[in-house]
Symmetry: C2
Subunit: 225 residues, 2 copies
DNA sequence: CCAAACCAGATTGTATACGATTTGAGCAGG
DNA sequence: CCTGCTCAAATCGTATACAATCTGGTTTGG
């Protein structure tokens, strides 16, 4: 299907597939297979996989190959801890720079998210997962710091992976209304309220996770052989 | 000189050289040259350069090659803005987790920094630059979040690049006493004071920068050709 | 029958080959 | 003398080749 050629395009395509869970954690990503799929040589496939490993979405084991990452419970905890620390900061920056155009954009994202929520089927579910992350990224963009935005992109992407591994409820994009309330508080310039709601929101997402080590997991993953 | 073989080792060696300014911004890093220098093929040299570009230390221009990054004034501003937002958070986390062993480590770093300050010669200056960054990194490690630590590593490394381009005073590792005071406040569990000192410290570093666009800059860099 | 060595297939690690693009020098025309 | 073209050297982009490593099944000795 893909007519892509550059390693960046391949990286983006695989990243999207990981984020909306068409590729599940632990899946082997052989260089030859990726190359064939995108009609390029192993060289470019390898470059794309290496890029994804820098983003923490893929783990490469020497002489064994690349796999969609399976974050450990500890990694998951640290990831959400980082989000709890970073997102309030981003919210604060975003609040101080919020303008009319930003509000429109946020409202449009919320509306799209709500629309997807009422649709059925896996395609809609995947789009909803992505839309949910996009709202957090939109806030980072409003904050207007390219460095922070990149950090949030990594956090959101890896969070999707964590939810794929440890999420319990079928769809844990969780409170759409929570997103709505956060944006509402932000527009009212009520930073304290927005921050409180954001932390609550992250708590909710993490509460849906079961971070007790899975019993049926791969022995190699357990012992890191 | 280097007997390294893996692309990771090459990446680390080049990163160190960039951070302590043996490699200055704008320097061309040709794949063939890097490969020859480390006795590997272009394949591994290229992988190392690509890794560094993900860290923001190297920019690769299509069909032209890799160069030590020259952050723009705007990038520099955003970088320090991000530090002003992140470091207080890290300080707060570090304060809540500070133990005896951590204090010893911090004191040792301060002492080493002071020792280097009293030495002369370029080698000592470079070591001092690195030591200065190491203190900020040590604080991140005490905070105990691997994600935040990685973010700080990137920020500190890129900051060194910014100082190399825009720093005015010969040696802008700046207040050694400032580092000392921050650690002191931290050990007294005076988070407010430690945070204030940290922000002050970052202000001082940034105050030493001249972020007005350089006149003699490369036309290609100006217009991004 | 079981355990350990072994071999074949598959996959990654690294180097090299070759085409494509850029760049700067030299030359021809104005 | 200046402008613009041509071309060769250098460098990057990508594919391919071959060596090293891992894996799983088979054989062999007990």
């Amino acid at each position: 299907m893909p007519m892509t050629q550059t390693s960046e395009a391949i990286r983006d395509a695989i990243r999207d597939a990981i984020i909306d869970r068409r590729l599940t954690p632990g899946t082997k990503l052989s260089e030859a297979d990726v190359g064939k799929l995108f009609h390029v040589s192993r060289t470019l496939a390898r470059a794309a996989l290496q890029a994804l490993s820098y983003e923490g979405l893929v783990t490469v084991e020497k002489n064994r190959g690349a796999f969609v990452a399976q974050p450990s419970p500890e990694e998951a905890r640290q990831l959400f801890a980082a989000r709890r620390l970073l997102e309030p900061v981003i919210l604060s920056e975003a609040a101080s720079k919020l303008e009319e155009a930003h509000s429109h954009h946020l409202k449009a994202l919320l509306q799209e998210e709500g629309r997807l929520r009422n649709e059925h089927g896996q395609i809609a579910r995947r789009a909803e997962i992505k839309a949910s992350g996009d709202l957090h990224l939109a806030l980072a963009q409003i904050a207007g710091n390219a460095v922070l935005t990149r950090f949030m992109e990594e956090l959101v992407a890896r969070s999707s992976l964590v939810i794929a591994v440890y999420g319990q409820s079928a769809i844990s994009s969780c409170g759409h209304s929570e997103h709505h309330d956060i944006v509402e508080a932000l527009e009212k310039r009520d930073l304290a309220q927005a921050t409180a709601l954001m932390l609550h929101h992250i708590d909710h997402i993490e509460a849906d996770l079961d971070l007790t080590p899975k019993s049926g997991s791969n022995l190699r993953d357990v012992f890191g052989g």
